[in-house]
Chain length 346, copies 2
Amino acid sequence: MGHMSDGARPPLTTRIMIGLNAVLAAIDGDRPLVLCTKAKGDKGLWGLPYGPFDPVRQRTFELGLRDFVAEQTRMRLGYVEQLYTFGDKGREAPSAVFEGGGAEDRIVSVGYLALAPGAEPVAMENTAWRNWYDHFPWEDWRDGEPRILSERIIPALQNWVDDAESPAEQRNRRDRVVLAFGYEESGWEEERTLDRYELLYEAGIVTEAEQDGLGETLPFQIVEAPMISDHRRILATAIGRLRGKLRYRPIIFEMMPPAFTLLDLQRSVEAIIGFPLHKQNFRRGIDNSGLVVKTGNVSAETGGRPAAMFRFDRSRVTGKAAQDRTIKGLTLPRLRQSPNAKLRAS
Amino acid sequence: MGHMSDGARPPLTTRIMIGLNAVLAAIDGDRPLVLCTKAKGDKGLWGLPYGPFDPVRQRTFELGLRDFVAEQTRMRLGYVEQLYTFGDKGREAPSAVFEGGGAEDRIVSVGYLALAPGAEPVAMENTAWRNWYDHFPWEDWRDGEPRILSERIIPALQNWVDDAESPAEQRNRRDRVVLAFGYEESGWEEERTLDRYELLYEAGIVTEAEQDGLGETLPFQIVEAPMISDHRRILATAIGRLRGKLRYRPIIFEMMPPAFTLLDLQRSVEAIIGFPLHKQNFRRGIDNSGLVVKTGNVSAETGGRPAAMFRFDRSRVTGKAAQDRTIKGLTLPRLRQSPNAKLRAS
DNA sequence: CCTATATATGCTCTAGTTGAGTATTATTAA
DNA sequence: TTAATAATACTCAACTAGAGCATATATAGG
C-alpha cells in the first residue's frame, strides 16, 4: 500500500490527539434533555462530557466512549451512534483539553450521539441534565414561532444579508437564510439544526466565548447561552441527526420507558422535533405502524379518561407480524394552524 | 476545561495518525463509477484513493482531502461530504500506510464522499474509474434480483443462521438478515448497503484478504472482489449515504452534466439506487419538483423522438420561483413488477 | 412516400396517505 | 348531575404513488 506521497510522516513535535464527545440525550415529559458538565475555569460555561481516546487501551472509539462516560457520569450507554468528526485547526486549545498537551498539538474530536431511556438523576457534581433548548431557543416551535426568532434573529440576519459586500454575496446569503430558516415557501425543516447554527455563527449572531477570536466586535450578536469550545456545534449536529432519524427508524423507543401512553410518546416526539403534532393523526400513524402493542394496563395520570399503556414491539421490526408494510419510523403529522398556539395540540 | 481523567496523555511510543479516504463517485451512462487506485504489493487489489492528514499544514480535513486528491489524480473535487471515521484497532497495518509508521501506531481514517459531474479519464497509472457493482454485485437489482443473491448469498446466510449456537442467537441472526435484505414483508431498502455488507462480512461470506485473520477457514465464503484494508466498508458506507440522500436533497445534479435529458437523469438515478424506475412517474415527479428547466435544445441521440434537454435550476431550491412546495430531492417511483426484467423499464 | 420501430411525452385511473376536523366515550372534581 | 379533561373513533377532502394507455416525433428501410 505504499503509494502515498512522501513527507507523510508528521514531525514528532506535532501530535494528533483524539477526544471523544458524547451527546447523551433523554426526555423528561416535554423537556428534551442533554447531559452537560461544567468545568472550573470556563467562566461557568456548560459543555458536553468528553474524554481522551487512548489508542493503547481502547480497541474502538465506541468502547472508549462507553468507558469514559461510565467513569464520569456513572451511566451505562445503550444506543450509540457516531455523528461527525471535527478536525478544524484552532477549534480548541490542546493544553486545555489534554493534560500534557502542548500548543503545537492537534486535537480532533469524534462526536457521538447516545440515547437514554430516561433522565436518571446524576449525583456527580458539575454534571446535570439540561434542556437543550436553553442553548437553542430558536429551535422550539411548540408554542408557535419563537419570539427570539422573529424579534431578534431574523432582523439580525437581515442586517447580515444587507451587509454583504457584493450583490452576488448578498443573494447567496439571502438564499441560505431562506433555506435554513424556511422562510417564504420552503418551510421550516426541523432537522436543519446545524445549518441554522452555522449560519448564526457565521453571521456573528451566536458566538462561543472568546476563543473564536471575534471578541466583542461582533456587530449582530444577540443570542447568548454559548457552550465551551465547539460543543454547541456538536449538540446542533446531534439534534439534527436525531430529528431526521425519527422519521425512518424507530429510534424514539430508545428514549422511552418500558410502558407509556400514546400521549407520552407524542410529547416525547414533540420535545425532540420542536413542533406540535396532530394528536389523532399521530395515533393513527402509530397505530398502523404496528410498532407498539397494548400492555393491557391503563394510566389514570392526567385527569381525563384513562389512557391505555403501550410498549414497543421489537418483533414488529422484522418478524412475521409485520404483515405487509415496511416499518420505518414515525409519521410526523404536523399541526399547521394551531387554533391557539398557547394551548398546544388539542 | 481540565476535568478529564488523568493518564490521558498517550505515551509517545503510540502515535495516532489520521488518513483521509475519498470515495469519488461519478456516473457514466448507466454505470455508477468510483475512482480506485491499485497499489503494488497488494496482490492487485483495488482500493480507494487515500492520503495522510498532515496536522501541521492542513487546516481542515476537507482541505487536506482536496489537496491529496488533486495531487494523486489531478482532479479537483466539487461536492464533498464527510462520511464516517473508522478507528477500530487492527483495521490496517500502520507501516503499510504511513512511511515511517510503526506497528505500535494507531491509524484512524476519515472517509469522505465526493461527487464528480462526469468521469473524466484519468491519465495516472494504477488509477481508474470502476463500476462499483463489481464490488457489490448483490446491490444491483436493475435487471431483477441478482442471481448471486438468490443462488449463493441467501443460501449461505441461511447456513449462517442455522449455525447459530443458541436459539436466541439464531432468531437474532434471522431477524438481521430479514431486515437488511428485505425478505418477507419488509422489502429491499436500497440504502442499507452497509448493513448488508457488515452482515456478509460477519457471516464470512465476503472477506477482505488475509489481514482480517480469517484466512481460508471461512465456512461460507462465496463472494469475491475484495478491496484493500477496509475500503470496501467505506465504499458501502458511501453508497448507502448517497442512495439515502437522493430522496431528500437534489444531490443527483452534482453528478450530472450541465444539460441532460430526463432519461439520462433517470438512468443516472437508477445506476445509483440499483433498481428500475417507472418512467412516466419519474418524469412526473421531476416535473412538479420544479428542480429542472428546459434548455430549449433537444437531443437526437437515441433513435426515437428527440428528447428535450434540461438543466438543474438552482434558483428553485430557494428563490421566489419555488412557489408552494417544499423542495426536497427526487421521488423514486419504484417499478414493482417489471413486465420483463431483462428489458428495463418500459 | 409509407411502414415498422423506437423513444418521448401527455393523460387517466385507483389505492393509499396525509392534513384536518367532528363525534363519542370514560374518567375525576365540584 | 354537570363541567372539565382526555382518550379514542370516524369522516372527508386533497394529494401522492403505482400502473398503464394513448399520442407525438424521430430514424431506417422498403
